[in-house]
Amino acid sequence: MSEDLCFSTISQLARLMETGALSAEELMRAVVARTKAVEPRVRAFNSYDEADALAQARASDERRARASRTGGRGLPLEGIPVGIKDVISVAGQPLTASSRMLEGFVSPYDATVTRRLKGAGAICWGRLNLDEFAMGSSTENSAFGPTSNPWDLERVPGGSSGGSAAAVAAGEAAAALGSDTGGSIRQPAALCNVVGIKPTYGRVSRFGLIAFASSLDQIGAFARCVGDAALVLGVIAGHDPRDSTSVDAPVPDYAGAASAFAKSGRRWRLGIAKEYFGEGLDPEVGAAVQAAIDVYRAQGCEIREVSLPHTKYAVGTYYIIATAECSSNLARYDGVRYGHRSAATTDALDLFFKSRAEGFGPEVKRRIILGTYVLSSGYYDAYYLRAQKVRTLIRRDFLDAFAHVDAILTPTSPTPAFRKGEKADPLAMYLNDIYTIGVNLAGLPGISVPCGFTRGGLPIGLQVIGQPFKEAELLAVAGAYESRCDWGRRRPRL
């Protein structure tokens, strides 16, 4: 029973709590118990504060009781435990980015998304593991040890939001927040058999998200099903005066809009990007995605080939822009006002050099160096400026395609979950992001939904790429597939 609770959807849990069959405290206790049971093997969390979570749960029950007495409306995520990637600030909680640089740092303020979650009655549950400073595709770059994929503990859960994906997959949270700069929500979602959505750039506030690449980062959600993802997105999305890049546009009722689309029986026009089905794609992944495309076809959707000719430049473009921006964003980590400070330093200059050398892991250092190089005197035009121009062309490819289709279908990841230690070469790891990265460069929304398993039992994800600010349509298209299968309902054997 307790395990069933841990694998229920938000809608199911909300119904149970509304009818009084379940209290938030009971739910939280079940989740804590499940977490304690599986964490030794999964290691999704950097930390969690059990007492605080239970206190939040009790407060939720009190709120619900007050609301029902006064006849008020319940909050959309009342009592739902939502895991938080350890790059999103929660006041009074650690904020480590899975880095030694921020070991022991406690944040004094709430991210805007945190405020929104709390305002919706959700319980902010724990600090979830990630690749250090969100740089990586496997969570192996965490300074505190890797997270294991609940479907095969020898393998990675993906990254950088590997902890978030694994926690939802393993029943340690009903949903989780992650961040996505080049695929860091969608790819781990695919590798862990959960739904992961990255909104349009500017849809969700970045205030309180540890910045990696400012023009690419977005906070998004992991959930058990598309409907849950819609709910969480609806809560965290919206204009924020504290984030000048957040867009001042109304937030539709995503869950409602998506189901309205479903009921309308709309036949979507779906694009298959030919550049995404070539070399490097694992045949089992390719087959699963083709089978998913067939499901759409059977529903009467129009399937047509589209071309995104600049796809092959996406990884290169990304690694110039993202590293340039992160080299500047990570300059603040110097041991002066907070964070790791080296013990033996002779002067302030020495303090910078040593604290940063000791605090940052190798992948972070590599990206800072590359980013510093491409911005340095004499190289700006050749690298950064050129990459921003190629980025314009990549975005244009997508927008041209959207003149003919409503959404684009691709595999999320070229391979299923790989073994820990398998991709030691940085460039090989970067090339993993080939299907997700263009979406960030173009600022588009994207979602990954489970679409099958390999013969070896490893999850496979289908990516749907949507038009700017059309998350309702995106969720509807994803839901149209999900309604015809039950991959997402399987549970890992833990």
Binding site: P108, T245, Y313, T317, A331, A348, D350, T372, V390
Partner: protein
Amino acid sequence: MPRPDLKLDHVANLARLALTAEEKERFAAQLGDVLAYVAQLNEVDVSGVEPTAHALPVVNVWAEDTPEPGLPVEEALRNAPARRDNMFIVPRVVE
């Protein structure tokens, strides 16, 4: 195609990162490969293409000059690695 020279010492200095000799050698090789890979961007015809400054064509995003409370000094210094009299200490700054 020859690997572009990463000027690792200079760049690490700009980034205030003290690298070990081993790191320098390893990074030079790894990043050299990355730079060689990204060189393919030079193939692209970008004539007449504007760089993506921001995804959204928005201007004049600001706030009114209305002061709001800040952090109490204890909160401001809460994570300070070293402090004295409500100030952050750093080892001496040599000009």
